[in-house]
């Protein structure tokens, strides 16, 4: 029996699934905690667990698909390897004038003379001497090179030349040069600054992704799985791991993309909204005609706007493991901080229940009740004296936050210190979460409900509610946040991003639609025209209220809890190539812009014919390199023209865009 193995490393959990290849059904699923400091540990645990039920054996695996948050997280956290960014024909004065230098990512930027104009004509010859010097001077100090030329997407000649120089000058004894990426390989769009951002981020990620792929490969080898390994791109399609290593930037938003694809596959719906609720975050995206809608403006990750077309997902810092607390005014706040649920913590550390009981007997400081801190891992680098002292307190297991604040003698400053250590993933916060609310209400039974109940009592007392009423408020609070996020996403797409805090009338209408203002004479109803497919772990608890508020249908497909891992293995391999033809000199000739350079023709149709002749074969080869089998090519053509005033003649021809798309099944060998 041939099976495919899907793996998803999410914010909280790493999921693994086995999909029977003949029937396409999910035959096993498993979860393990994501281990940030070394993702392969969690992956190993999840994969081992998925074979526990004997549904299949590792030898049956014909394909492994991986969706990973590595690239996204690394960008957000600013991690990556030293790189050199070589810019050809850029104007440093302009970048400085407009404060665009900080968008270049790299510390080490080299400006080279050269570059082209919008028609693809050379503005200035490439300064090869300077390029050689710059490359040689950095040999041994950087791990990757990034190259971007001014109007390089209209004529890649200078980028290609600099890439050849990098390959020539950095080749090691093993015959392999350092990785080098050019802007025109990652996009065909204009904006030299954002291409530089994208290509620099890509170069910085290469060593990280290479390392991850190597450890995953070792983990699979240890389990005797020899199948090809593929990675999910941000658009939901798959690429062979070796390809992903060259273009890691394309794997940003891999997780949300896999969720959408998994939701589509499991639910069998082509036009739906998708809500993926995890432990840390909730992703909202839309599926149109069976494909995830992509963000054509380019995916934003952290402070960078890239040129990568990835799934148009809206991410909210809300999940089953969001920390629940009361603010200074006693209002309920859920997330965005993530915490280990009390029920889960006390399953591992039974002493937590007693510690909670003791807290219940004493007067509590506001905002700190029922919270614990536990060590996550040893620091790889030196810690300050204060941080060492704090970490020592945690040697004996999780400590109540209130006790730490007292012991450390700088009162609330300790909270800030702990937040710093959390950001470095050295410690974890534990506390009351929506998952605890479900345990306390008896709607979810996996861990120790006793801890959840005491936690609920502690917070309910502060809020002046019964524990049951408090828990209900937490659960409905989560639903309200999901509904609000969905409405916000829709309005942002179709009208303008709502600002619920400042737009009082909009907020009042929303509150009525959510059912929060039963005393109002005005009723307001919202209706979502498409059904919602909900995937992720705790969706049964929160989504029914969401679909009631939005007057639509809820689909929770079987295996919804591991949909993202399913999405990691059921996608297609897709490669796209865009060719642009533009009129020059008043339509005297037509210039075709391809990734290998420019080609001139006497007529538009001659250019189109040439592109149709040469591009499909090249694209097919590219798709095979990316891991595709049974490749099919689709071509679309858009001619752009615009009308002039009456009496001035025919519409003006502006250009032609040819889009070639290759789609194939993942190759199993």
């Amino acid at each position: 029996m041939a099976v495919t193995l899907g793996i998803d490393t999410g914010g909280t959990y790493t999921d693994a699934v086995l999909v029977d290849q003949a029937s396409g059904t999910v035959i096993a699923g498993a979860k393990a905690l994501t281990t940030y400091h070394d993702l392969s540990i969690g992956i190993g645990e999840a994969v081992t667990a998925v074979f526990d039920g004997q549904a299949a054996s590792p030898a049956d695996v014909s394909l492994v698909g991986l969706s990973t948050t590595l690239a996204t997280n690394a960008i957000v956290e600013g991690r990556g390897s030293p790189l050199c960014l070589l810019l050809i024909g850029y104007d440093p004065a302009l970048l400085q004038q407009y404060g665009l230098e900080r968008d270049l990512v790299a510390q080490d930027v080299v400006y080279l003379r050269g570059g082209h104009d919008g028609a693809g004509n050379e503005v200035e010859p490439l300064d090869e001497v300077a390029a050689r010097e710059a490359i040689l001077a950095r040999r041994g100090r950087v791990e990757a090179y990034a190259v971007s030329g001014y109007f390089g997407v209209r004529n890649p000649a200078h980028e290609l030349r600099v890439r050849a120089l990098v390959e020539e000058l950095t080749t090691h004894a093993d015959g392999k040069p350092l990785p080098v990426t050019c802007g025109h390989e990652l996009t065909t769009r204009l904006n030299a600054v954002r291409r530089a951002t994208t290509v620099a981020l890509n170069a910085r990620l290469i060593p990280l992704l290479r390392e991850l792929i190597a450890t995953v490969r070792r983990t699979l080898d240890a389990l005797s799985i020899a199948a090809p390994l593929m990675v999910v791109k941000g658009d939901g399609s798959l690429v062979r791991a070796e390809w992903a290593i060259r273009r890691p930037i394309e794997t940003i938003l891999s997780g949300p993309a896999a969720s959408v694809v998994g939701a589509w596959y499991l639910a069998g719906c082509r036009d739906v909204w998708m809500v993926d609720m995890g432990g840390t975050t909730t992703d909202i995206a839309v599926l149109r005609d069976g494909h995830p809608r992509l963000n054509s403006a380019g995916a934003q990750v952290g402070r960078w706007r890239t040129m990568v077309e990835a799934v148009d997902a809206h991410t909210v810092g809300l999940g089953g493991d969001s920390l629940v607390r009361l603010d200074a005014e006693g209002r309920l706040v859920i997330g965005p901080r993530r915490a280990v649920p009390l029920c889960m913590l006390s399953s591992e550390y039974p002493g937590v229940v007693d510690a909670l009981r003791r807290q219940a007997g004493a007067r509590q400081r506001d905002g700190l009740a029922a919270q614990f801190v536990l060590a996550q891992r040893r620091a790889a680098s030196e810690l300050s004296e204060a941080d060492q002292a704090l970490m020592q307190h945690l040697d004996g297991g999780p400590q109540p936050l209130t006790a730490l604040v007292e012991k450390l003698r700088y009162g609330s400053l300790a909270v800030r210190q702990i937040e710093g250590l959390e950001a470095r993933r050295l410690v974890l916060r534990a506390g009351f979460t929506p998952t605890d609310a479900l345990h306390a209400l008896g709607r979810f039974e996996r861990w120790n409900a006793a801890a959840s109940r005491i936690g609920a009592e502690l917070l309910a007392r502060q809020a002046g509610l019964s524990p049951e009423a408090f828990c209900e408020r937490v659960v409905s609070g989560v639903s309200n946040r999901v509904t609000t996020a969905l409405v916000s996403k829709l309005l942002s797409d179709e009208a303008a991003p709502p600002d619920w805090k400042r737009e009082n009338a909009a907020a009042a209408l929303l509150a009525r639609a959510l059912g929060d203002e039963p005393a109002s004479d005005l009723d307001c109803q919202l209706a979502l025209r498409q059904p919602i497919v909900a995937v992720g772990a705790p969706v049964e608890a929160y989504m029914p209220r969401v679909v009631r508020q939005l007057h639509t249908e809820l689909i929770i497909p079987p295996h919804a809890e591991v949909a993202n891992a399913v999405g990691a293995v059921v996608g297609s391999v897709v490669q796209q190539l865009q060719a642009t033809i533009r009129p020059l000199d008043g339509e005297q000739y037509f210039r075709l812009h391809l990734p290998d350079g420019v080609h001139d023709f006497g007529t538009l149709e001659a250019g189109v014919a040439y592109a149709r002749q040469v591009v499909p074969d090249r694209l097919k080869a590219l798709a095979r390199q990316a891991g595709a089998d049974h490749v099919e090519i689709h071509t679309s053509r858009v001619d752009q023209s615009a009308p002039v005033q009456a009496a001035w003649g025919q519409p003006i021809y502006l250009g032609t865009q040819l889009t070639f798309t290759a789609v194939g099944r993942p190759a199993l060998t």
Binding site: D91, A93, L94, L95, Q97, Y98, L100, D103, D117, G118, A119, V123, Y150, F151, L190, N191, A192, V193, R194, P583, G586, Q640, S641, A642, P643, V644, Q645, W648, G649, I652, Y653, L654
Partner: protein, 211 residues
């Protein structure tokens, strides 16, 4: 509004350059703030010229003469405006696109916008896309205005917008286009932010961008 400011406005409308210059000086001598002379006298007069030009009551020669009067008034006023550091409506770069030597329309727009308080940078005619990018770098304008009078050169407007896009500054400026053959649909298709069929409308469009 004081009587003298009204006189400035009507003399400007009539195109009496010397009178406008004298009246501006008198107004200043009376102690009226330079900013008020500008907005209540010169710009008010130019606004009327714009309206009547749009309605077909005035024609190009009259507008040019009025603009010359405006210029004369500004000659008196400008040193004081700079000294008083009064913020204008913003900077605006204008030019006729590459391959096109027509400049009457572009000059009209320049003068009307100057009349509306914009600080104008005129790149002239037959301007290459790179020259627009250079001007944007040098002056950091809020608006770039493109003019083309030939169907064969209109396509170059798209090249300029692309050059601004490639430079990474497209989001920092508003681009408006105009010229006899240009249409609103053409402006949308090439990704311009605004279109003005005539110089008076150009003022409305520009004010909309900075307002």
């Amino acid at each position: 509004m004081s009587e003298i400011l009204q006189k400035i406005a009507s003399s400007l409308y009539a195109g009496e350059a010397a009178t406008v210059a004298d009246l501006v000086q008198q107004a200043l001598d009376q102690g009226i703030a330079p900013q008020d002379v500008l907005s209540g006298g010169l710009i008010a007069g130019m606004d009327e010229v714009g309206k009547d030009f749009k309605d077909g009551i005035l024609f190009v020669p009259e507008v040019l003469i009025a603009a010359r009067a405006m210029h004369a008034g500004m000659g008196v006023l400008r040193p004081l405006l700079v000294a008083g550091d009064i913020p204008g409506a913003g900077k605006c770069v204008v030019g006729t696109v590459q391959g096109d030597l027509h400049d009457i329309g572009k000059n009209l727009v320049r003068m009307m916008l100057e009349g509306a308080g914009f600080e104008m940078i005129d790149l002239g005619t037959d301007v290459r896309p790179e020259a627009f990018v250079d001007a944007v770098r040098k002056h950091q304008p809020r608006i770039v205005g493109l003019s083309a009078l030939l169907t064969t050169t209109m396509v170059n407007m798209k090249s300029i917008i692309e050059a601004l896009e490639e430079a990474g500054v497209r989001g920092s400026v508003k681009v408006m286009v105009g010229g006899a053959p240009v249409t609103a649909a053409f402006a949308r298709e090439i990704g311009a932010d605004g279109y003005a069929p005539d110089a008076a409308t150009a003022v409305d469009v520009a004010r909309g961008f900075v307002g």
